[in-house]
Amino acid sequence: MNTNLIIKPDKAVEAFYLFFIVHTLQIGAGLMGVPRIIFTESEADSWIAILLAGIYLHFVAWIMILILRKYDNADIIGIQCDVFGRWLGAVLGMVYVLYLFSILLSVIKNYIEVVQVFIFPEIPLWLMSSFLLSLMIYAVLGGFRVVVGTSFIFFLLTIWMVFTLAQPISYMDWDHFTPVFHTGFLDLMKGAYKTAYSVLGLEILFFVYPYIKNKQKISLPVHAGLALTTFLILLVTVVSIGYFSPEQLKETVWATLSLFKIISYPVVERFDFIAIALWMMVIIPNIVLFCWALIQSLNRLFQLPEKPSLYGVALLLFLASILIEYRVHIDKLTDWTSTLGFWLVFIYPVILYPLVLIRKRFRKENSI
C-alpha cells in the first residue's frame, strides 16, 4: 500500500472547509444529551470541565497536524502501515473501521430514539434508519466534494437554532453556578472525560488531510471549528444548568431538547417538534462524513471498490439498527463507542507522534 495518496485537483477542497467538516462532525447526537452527562460528574462547575476538555481538544488537534505534516499526503491508514509495518498497521486500521462503524450506528440509533420519544412513538425503526441511510448513500455516492458540501450547507441551515436558546436563557437561575470551584479536581476530570463522546469527530482530520488543497493553512480552520464546538457545548450546558434545578437535570436525558420545549413563536406553538425534525439535518453531515471515512479506509486497507462496500456498509448498519431495540442496549453501545473513541481519538495520537518521529529518524539513518 502507498503511504501517500495521489488526489486529483478537482477532488480536493480548500482548507477553509475543514472548519465545517470538523465542526459538523463533532456536533451531532451527542449534543442532545451532553448537559446531563457532564453535570452528573462535575455539577455546577461543569463549565470548567468543558473548558478543560476544549483545551485538550486543541492540543490533540495540534499533535494530529504535526503527525500529518511529517508526511506529504498521507492518511492515518497509510501512516499506521508506515510506522507499524503492513500487518500491525492493517490491524490498527481495522480498529478504526470498527470504531467508525460503531459510532455511525450509535449516532443513527440515538437520533431514532429521540424521534421516537419526542415526536412519533410509533414510527418503525426500519423506516427511520432507511430514511437516514438512503440520504447517506445518496450523498456519499456524489464523492468527496458532495460530502463536504453536505456538511457545509447543513451547517448553515441549522446553526441558527442556537439563537432560539434566547428564550430558555431568560429563565436561567445564576445561583446554580455559585460557588465556583466547588467540585473536586477528580470530578472535573471525569466531566472532561465524559465530554469526549460529544466532541468525537476530530479524527476525520486523519482521513481528509490528503484531500485538502492548501495544506499549510489547515491550522486556523481546524482550531476555529474546535473552538465553536467547545463554545456550543459550553452554551448548552450552561443554559441547562441555569434552567433546570440540579436534581432535575440529573434526570433529564435530553436536556438540550427539553430546553427547546419552552420555545414558542406566534406561528409555531412548540418549537421542539421543529427542532427535532431539523436535527436530522445536524445528523446527516455526521453520518455522511463518517461513512465516507469508513468507505475510504476499507478501500485503502483491502482495495475494496467503493460502491459495493458502500451498499454493504449501509445494509449492515440497517440490520444492526433494527436489531438493537432496547434503550439499555443503545446506552451500552454509546458508552462503548465513547470509550473506544476516547482512546483512539484523544490518547492514541499523542502516542503515535513520538513513534512517527522515531520511525522518520530511523528511516533517515538507514538511507544514509
Binding site: P124, D173, D175, P179, Y243, F244, P246, E247, I262, S264
Partner: protein, 378 residues
C-alpha cells in the same frame, strides 16, 4: 432504467407500509385545561375542558368529567365518554383542588413531566372551590373556553407583577431545587366569576397555606420579581401631621393611604457565612407617588423624606410579619436556602435539612425607598 423502477417500487412500498397512526385534528378532543378534585379517599375526579370539532355544533369547547385513581386513568375514563380521541399536547392549564394539592401534587404531575407531548409552559393553579365548578363557569364572552379565560387571567396577573410565575417549568424547578419552595396562584369563585384570591404556598409539593394579595406583594418584592406595578399602603394616621397644608380639607379625617407605582426595585440577600439561618436582606425601591389621601405639602423636601421614612418603616414591619407567616408554615418560597447555597461551600442546605431550619430563620431587613416623582399635581 431498471434501477429507477426498483427505487420507485421501494418508495411505494415504504409509503404503503411505513404509515404511522394519524391524529387528524378534527378527530381529536384537544384538552386545553384540566382540573383535579378529590372524589374519595383513593380516587380523584378530573374535569377536562377540550376542543372538539364537530360540523353540527357551533361551540367547539366541551367539558368532560370522569373519576379514576390516576391522572392517566382519568383520560382513559373520559375517552369512553367522547366521540373524539382525547390528547394532551395542548394542555395549557392544570388546576388542583386545595384538598388534593395538600396531599402532594407531583404524583399527578409526574406524568406531565415524563410525557414529551405536554408543554412545560403550561400554567398551574390551586383552587379553593372544586375545580369542576371553576371550569364549568362559562361567563366570559371574549374567550370561547373557560380554561382559556382562566389561563389568560393568570397570565395577565403574572405579566402585571401581581403573581409570581406559575408555569409548570417554574413549579418543577422550585420544587426540585434545594432551599426554595414553589408557589402557585390561588383561585376561587365569587358569584359565578373566577377570581384570583391569593397565593398558595407549598411545602415541597404539598399545599400548606394561602397568603393574601397584599402578602403576595411582599413575596414578589423578596423574589425580585417586582419590576413594574402598583401597590397601596396604609400608614399611621398622624404620621405626616406636621406637613399638612394649612387649609384643612375634607380629607383631613380618616386613615392615611398612599398608593405607589413602583418603577424599579433591587434586592440583595446576604446570608451569613456558614449559617443559613442568619440573613440580611436589603431592599431598594424606586417609586412614583400616585395617590395620597391627605393634603400633604409635597413641595417640602422634608415632607417627602418623612413620607419615604414612614413607608420604609411600614414595609419593613410588614416584611417581618410576612416572615413570621413563612416560619409558622415552615416554607421558604423566597429561596433563602438557595441564596445561602449560592455563596457557601460549607454546611450546605438540602431539601431535607432546610425544612427544620426554617423556623429558626432570622432575617433582618433594610428597606430603602426613593420617591422620584409625584404626579402632575403638587
Amino acid at each position: 432504467m431498471k434501477r429507477k423502477r426498483i427505487i420507485l417500487i421501494v418508495l411505494l412500498v415504504l409509503i404503503c407500509s411505513g404509515c404511522i397512526p394519524k391524529s387528524y385534528i378534527e378527530q381529536l378532543g384537544i384538552i386545553t385545561a384540566v382540573g383535579y378534585d378529590m372524589a374519595g379517599e383513593k380516587s380523584i375526579r378530573g374535569t377536562m375542558v377540550m376542543y372538539q370539532f364537530d360540523p353540527s355544533t357551533t361551540s367547539a369547547s366541551q367539558v368532560v368529567t370522569s373519576e379514576a385513581a390516576t391522572s392517566k386513568g382519568l383520560r382513559f375514563e373520559a375517552n369512553r365518554m367522547t366521540s373524539h380521541r382525547l390528547v394532551s399536547g395542548q394542555v395549557r392549564l392544570e388546576l388542583f383542588q386545595d384538598q388534593l394539592a395538600a396531599k402532594g401534587m407531583t404524583r399527578y404531575m409526574d406524568t406531565l413531566e415524563r410525557d414529551a407531548k405536554v408543554s412545560d409552559m403550561g400554567l398551574l393553579g390551586v383552587s379553593e372551590v372544586p375545580t369542576a365548578d371553576l371550569l364549568k363557569i362559562n361567563n366570559s364572552k371574549e374567550s370561547s373556553n373557560s380554561g382559556e379565560s382562566i389561563k389568560k387571567m393568570i397570565e395577565k396577573s403574572v405579566d402585571n407583577d401581581v403573581l409570581p410565575d406559575a408555569t409548570i417549568r417554574t413549579f418543577m424547578h422550585d420544587y426540585r431545587d434545594a432551599g426554595i419552595d414553589p408557589t402557585l396562584p390561588m383561585l376561587s369563585s365569587k358569584e359565578d366569576t373566577v377570581m384570583i384570591s391569593g397565593l398558595a404556598l407549598f411545602k415541597d409539593d404539598r399545599y400548606t397555606a394561602k397568603i393574601s394579595p397584599q402578602e403576595t406583594f411582599y413575596l414578589l418584592l423578596l423574589k425580585e420579581e417586582y419590576k413594574d406595578g402598583q401597590f397601596q399602603l396604609q400608614l399611621p394616621d398622624e404620621a405626616l401631621k406636621e406637613f399638612h397644608k394649612d387649609t384643612p380639607g375634607p380629607s383631613e379625617e380618616g386613615p392615611l393611604h398612599v398608593s405607589l407605582h413602583e418603577i424599579d426595585s433591587g434586592l440583595n440577600i446576604q446570608p451569613k457565612q456558614g449559617d443559613p439561618t442568619e440573613q440580611d436582606v436589603k431592599v431598594t425601591m424606586e417609586a412614583r407617588l400616585l395617590e395620597i389621601t391627605k393634603d400633604v405639602d409635597l413641595k417640602n423636601k422634608k415632607a417627602i423624606h418623612k413620607l419615604e421614612e414612614e413607608i420604609e418603616k411600614k414595609v419593613k414591619s410588614d416584611l417581618e410579619q410576612f416572615m413570621n407567616v413563612l416560619k409558622e408554615n415552615q416554607v421558604d418560597p423566597v429561596g433563602f436556602g438557595k441564596a445561602y447555597n449560592a455563596k457557601n461551600r460549607e454546611n450546605r442546605v438540602t431539601n431535607e435539612n432546610w425544612r427544620q431550619q426554617i423556623p429558626n430563620l432570622n432575617v433582618s431587613f433594610d428597606v430603602n425607598l426613593k420617591l422620584l416623582r409625584h404626579g402632575t399635581v403638587e
